[in-house]
Symmetry: C2
Subunit: 132 residues, 2 copies
């Protein structure tokens, strides 16, 4: 299994549930955005056994902490995650709530002129809201 080493190297035991969630999240042609609810449905569709909702939450948080997933900063009643962990931004379609990736090259370089003492920039995330 291709994800066993990845998990072990992160200090996560490669359990059956985690490996199955890896398949759903990472064994795809394209990266994608999802909520826990979306992921729960995808898992139900793809695998025959059941994975508890608590495990899905635990795993997603573990993967996020290890840097295999990113949260998308957006106000919604649910948290949106992204399997695309490269540096990039998002369009947010206000009409239907859909997110679209904006590659870093689609956005000119962002120059933050102000500095905060003793702090360094961890990430810069741009949300571009779209309307009709």
């Amino acid at each position: 299994m291709k994800y066993i080493e990845k998990l072990r190297n992160s200090g996560l035991r490669p359990t059956k549930q985690r490996l199955q969630i890896c398949e759903v999240l990472f064994n795809t042609e394209r990266t994608f955005h999802f909520t826990i609810n979306d992921l729960e449905r995808k898992i139900k569709d793809k695998i025959d056994n059941k994975i508890s909702l608590a495990t899905i939450y635990n795993t997603v948080h573990a993967f996020e902490k290890k840097g295999y997933l990113k949260q998308i900063p957006i106000n919604s009643n649910q948290i949106y995650f992204d399997t695309n962990i490269t540096d990039h931004h998002h369009f947010y379609n206000l009409k239907d709530g859909k997110l679209i990736d904006l590659e870093n090259s689609d956005v000119g370089p962002i120059n933050i002129k102000r500095k905060i003492d003793g702090k360094k920039i961890k990430s810069i995330e741009v949300l571009v809201k779209l309307e009709d």
Copy 2:
């Protein structure tokens, strides 16, 4: 009262509760960020009567819809609002969860090169996460 006309002009009846919330939100030297919980405490401190939590929610949403408040796009268990409705961005201190305004002039112009058919850009919001 200075807020009566403002409310009437927006089609909102200038009720006692709304006027008092206006005082707390807008009769200040500086703009600020708040959650509903923060606002509830501020109101308790500043006025002697009680305003129902439901009214605080209703009013904040009404003001947001009218453009007197903005939500700050950030993942948190609570929604953050901003009384600064000018075009600007935010630093987000991961250590303590505090937000700091970044004036538009503190950020170089942002050039979104990609277009989405039939959509126009409503806003561009940048969140700069800070770590030690």
